[in-house]
Symmetry: D2
């Protein structure tokens, strides 16, 4: 387990580099007997796919996934599922000018120091392209959770740079390239991104992910709490610099009489906790927020050094997302699904089959906090 | 690994409950030959110990640690180090009135649902008392990191409720019970806490932890990134609801030309990244922020239910910290030390012995961001 | 997981040295709600205990186990169970003469080379004394397996030096200090051991362990097969040099038409496989054999070297078992129980609750192969 | 880690089924900077390949391996290495007649009971075909061990059915299809196999594997001893029913004065231990023996049952090895290499860089026990 495997029982091991022949993942531990085809995975892959609007990288990748193993006659067999995605639109020459220097804020500095070698083509292993196999694997988990417990995992972008986007409706999310939950905000976002591209700069974003229909009891304290494993998975996503569960940093200024979610016979009266208490799911919606930093590869010239330690000015051309946060929503959903599924399996290992409780949510909670 | 083990190579497995006979930890994977005595561990234990000021729980525990194994003639032997701390001041009768109900915001609800059984005495396994063995184990890691790389790990409280406490000096931190880095702020903090106790309420806090002298190259992407494992460890600490690395959520509103830390032959010119790029340490200070929620056990009456699902009013007496964040600083330091040490061992497994680089920090960074 | 943890979901982490203050184990992942007291563990500890006959080491240890955590009001809570056994009869001075030399066939050579330091008192960490916590942990697994599936795990010694001891009856085993399944063989074994002690020499032994009532379906191929994990656990026991499942090495000279166990509607007609096919339990008896080498600490003078590499003659006094195999039976039973329980939990994680099949054993199999 | 990953730091995760589109492995944790091409792997793959003599299965597979990731400009980058082997000569119709019945001694019975579903084509996941990716992965480990320590790992068949084949010379091994170390024995082996095929039966074999140039100090007691992990890996190979280290079961009848290897300033005077003491390598040759059972798929009619539990007669056609042991030698070598490499990395994680000792072997040991 040299770092490329996520999960203990439902595991995802990814491989590949941005400009290698292929990327993919081996998913181990999937329960047998679940119907599964490539079509079950392609929907989320298409949501994450590059080149679908002018606001993301223009690299053209179909991201067609092939299931190489673990499925027989349309059903999972309980053996490893290998997911393969061929790279098709590499333009490695774009990167020759940055092979000798380090982009400020980019992993090329640390990869080179750690391994003494790095693949500069498209960021190599550190590329956000490697989130594609995670999304495919997450779609397996999403399907299993939905069929087993009725769990639904959805996300949206709640902030782009300093523009906050309110939650209006889940229906809005698939109708715009920003995964915004408010269609009225889209023109402002488009104008912002157009100006940003013109500037040759990049910007950060904030993503919210919500899982409803989560069984009570998932999480393995003390250390492998559900929220701890969610934080691990989310902070492992490229460019993430912060993770919150429930009220997150707003909890700092709250009093206990405000933060602690009261209970009634009908369920919880609020969800400040974000669906996790003591590291174990409460049955309420699991709410997670992510802070995503601005892309480090920008056209704006920056001061840096080369491999010899000499000063250098770095301008990055090639094809990059000016806001990696835009495509992060389906990835964050996938990661949450993977963690929940791993914990569902861990739970039933120790405690027997998981009980789906009567929904423990009072009626008056807003949809985004349900 | 049913959740009570932290780390892959330098592992800490804790055991015990708040009111059981003892709590402790088994630390496995410690390099052999390091001088170690109980005195090396007691300092941090004393910093975390309850009953040391009127602002924390009045439970009296000496928290004397006993090393049961793994040390021979004052040196580690490379075999498991068992750390034992006897509980001495349990008052289990205080909890009899809450054994049948669930405190809003408390883990007793989820433990009971997960395991079908719970130890109500002092929160049982979910008690913050279980952070004592973590602090003892962390002191081993701190010592090894200091001797091996010169790493220093320090923390402070930067916010209590809505009172922000600026960083003035590391010297201030040990001189007040709040771990504040500004002695001028202490009177306001004391007054705030006194009023809070009178109200029978609790409040949240924000903690900063900084590690300097970290070697470049620690972290195992894609999933076991250094920041991901830090997030896992920190979110696994009682009451933590948010974790940030470097600029954290402030990164959302930053542009790439601002966030990406420029490099000069003398080192990095800033540290927005918080010492981690692409999941691997840069050699700069690793900066982590934690959001800690208000204690759930408060005297203020709250609406809840009992085990039968019937409505109940809960008022929690017993001895509790009105702000668990106050004692969290040494725990957060310990967790950061444990993660760094685990990754130092993982790094040399794959890449050979760790190189300590010339400090890669430009001279003008403030001490808290060095 | 630096080598001192056994299991993935039901884990045992041991600590301690032969002459330290205490030895013990942390057992994590135990299902909650199982009645458990020290008395449940003491029986097997007493079977393994030293000093119970003239044929084993004369060290006097009561091996009283204390449960420090994980049990509340007589039931497991699902949290870590810490088992502590105090050492009481250390005589460390006996070992001063061997601290500078290496006993032929003993771990002191390799521990010293690996760690650069070793605890010579009683073998330190490499002592067979460290099997006591394993036996205590195994008793938890035995109890759970018995209550859940009706699994029974029993062992006996089938060979001592060149004396083969036939299986006659399980009833004989607890009636003699050799764990022989044939009381008629006991006088010969006693005479053999008396002569051996007089010679100042030691001898090997062969142990058989059989688990009946094992559910079908346990085992996680390709690598974590049930038989592979059994081999791992057994070869991890002090002095074991060989492990067989079912017919073991006899399979080499068998033909497929003889070895493959035929099936009838009433069950398997034979059990050459030893209860495992393709790494997964068949529901038949799991049969395991162990080869245990002669004790390396003997009075007979042997040629060796000292730490400086100079020639030395080594004679080992102190208190040692002249045949470590004699006390190995309860340990091997414990290890088999631990592996089976871990796999029972792993199985239900992926495949849901374990089904106990109608016993798949034809009526005419001998009890030792049932 | 649902069973399809071998190793802790140098990990191999395999995927694929006998008649699926492809099989392969993801190798994680390889040190960066090692030259590696497909040619480095193909040699051992060709040694294991089917169809190379009349004594093995006639399935024609080129077993051409493709490196999909982890290598850049001919060197490992420290990121996961995906190895892909396309299946080309599936004849799934051969298996339609056994899809409803269970072959005596075959994994189809247990896979069906465990997973409730099985892929009957060529044994699906349980096929020995899945050892091909293991051999490819093992070739990476062999290369690293050779370049780092001068380790050589070689094996031979020492028994086929009841024909014992003495060790004469390593040179003989590649010169015959049986991996026999005595060319004089080959005619008898050929005649035996020809008669066996005519009988429609199968037979077992015994394999020896020897690693020389192993550094002292590898192994992580108490549980992850080097020999324990070797036993785990070897017993995880298809059809293996027994594993011995060093003298193995012969140790049972030995006395301590015979078994314990004496030391001289020039090194060990013998190698009964097989290169492991206390679970840690001694620097001597690591010697491992395997018992391989006869193939379960034979033409000889056998009594069995079908999925409904009704009696059935099973005769297996299709293409099978009449002695799976014949091709097992390179696989066993690969497994030993994988375990040694994993432990070399684990060792340097805890203890720092591995020291290669002066060879600790006295001059008069036979080559097969060096």
């Amino acid at each position: 387990m040299s770092g490329n495997t996520l999960g203990l029982l439902f595991t995802v091991t990814t491989f590949g580099e941005s400009h290698g022949p292929a990327i993919g993942a081996v998913v181990d531990g999937c329960p047998p007997g679940m119907p599964l085809t490539e079509a079950d995975l392609q929907g989320d892959l298409d949501r994450r796919r590059p080149g679908t609007s002018r606001h993301v990288t223009q690299r053209q990748e179909a991201d067609q996934v092939e299931i190489l193993s673990g499925v027989f006659e349309g059903k999972t067999t309980g053996t490893p599922i290998c997911l393969l995605i061929r790279n098709t639109d590499q333009r490695s020459k774009d990167y020759s000018n940055i092979a000798e220097t380090f982009r400020p804020g980019h992993a090329d500095y640390t990869y080179w120091h750690k391994y003494g070698i790095r693949d500069p083509r498209g960021g190599g292993r550190s590329s956000a392209r490697l989130t594609a196999p995670v999304v495919a694997a997450g779609a397996i988990a999403k399907k299993w959770l939905r069929e087993k417990f009725g769990t639904e995992i959805r996300g949206y972008m709640s902030q782009l740079g300093d523009i906050k986007v309110p939650f209006v409706s889940w229906d809005a999310v698939p109708q715009n390239p920003f995964f915004a939950a408010d269609l009225a905000a889209v023109p402002e976002l488009e104008a912002y991104m157009d100006a940003l591209r013109k500037d040759g700069d990049s910007v950060g974003a904030r993503i919210e992910v919500v899982a409803t229909g989560v069984p009570v009891g998932l999480g393995e304290p003390l250390f492998d709490r559900l929220d701890a494993d969610i934080a691990h998975a989310m902070m492992g996503l490229n460019a993430v610099k912060g993770v919150e569960i429930g009220d997150g940093f707003a909890s700092v200024a709250q009093r206990g009489s405000e933060h602690g979610d009261e209970l009634t016979p009908q369920g919880f009266a609020s969800n400040h906790a974000g669906g996790v208490l003591g590291g174990i799911s409460t049955g309420q919606a699991v709410r997670v927020s992510l802070a995503i930093k601005p892309t480090s590869s920008i056209r704006t010239p920056r001061q840096s050094i080369d491999k010899a330690g000499e000063p250098a000015t770095v301008e990055t051309f090639g094809r990059h997302d000016p806001c990696v946060g835009i495509r992060a929503t389906p990835i964050a959903e996938a990661l949450l699904a993977l963690v929940l599924m791993d914990h569902a399996l861990r739970h039933r290992a120790q405690c027997g089959d998981v009980q789906v409780e009567t929904p423990r949510i009072a009626a008056d909670l807003p949809p985004s906090a349900a």
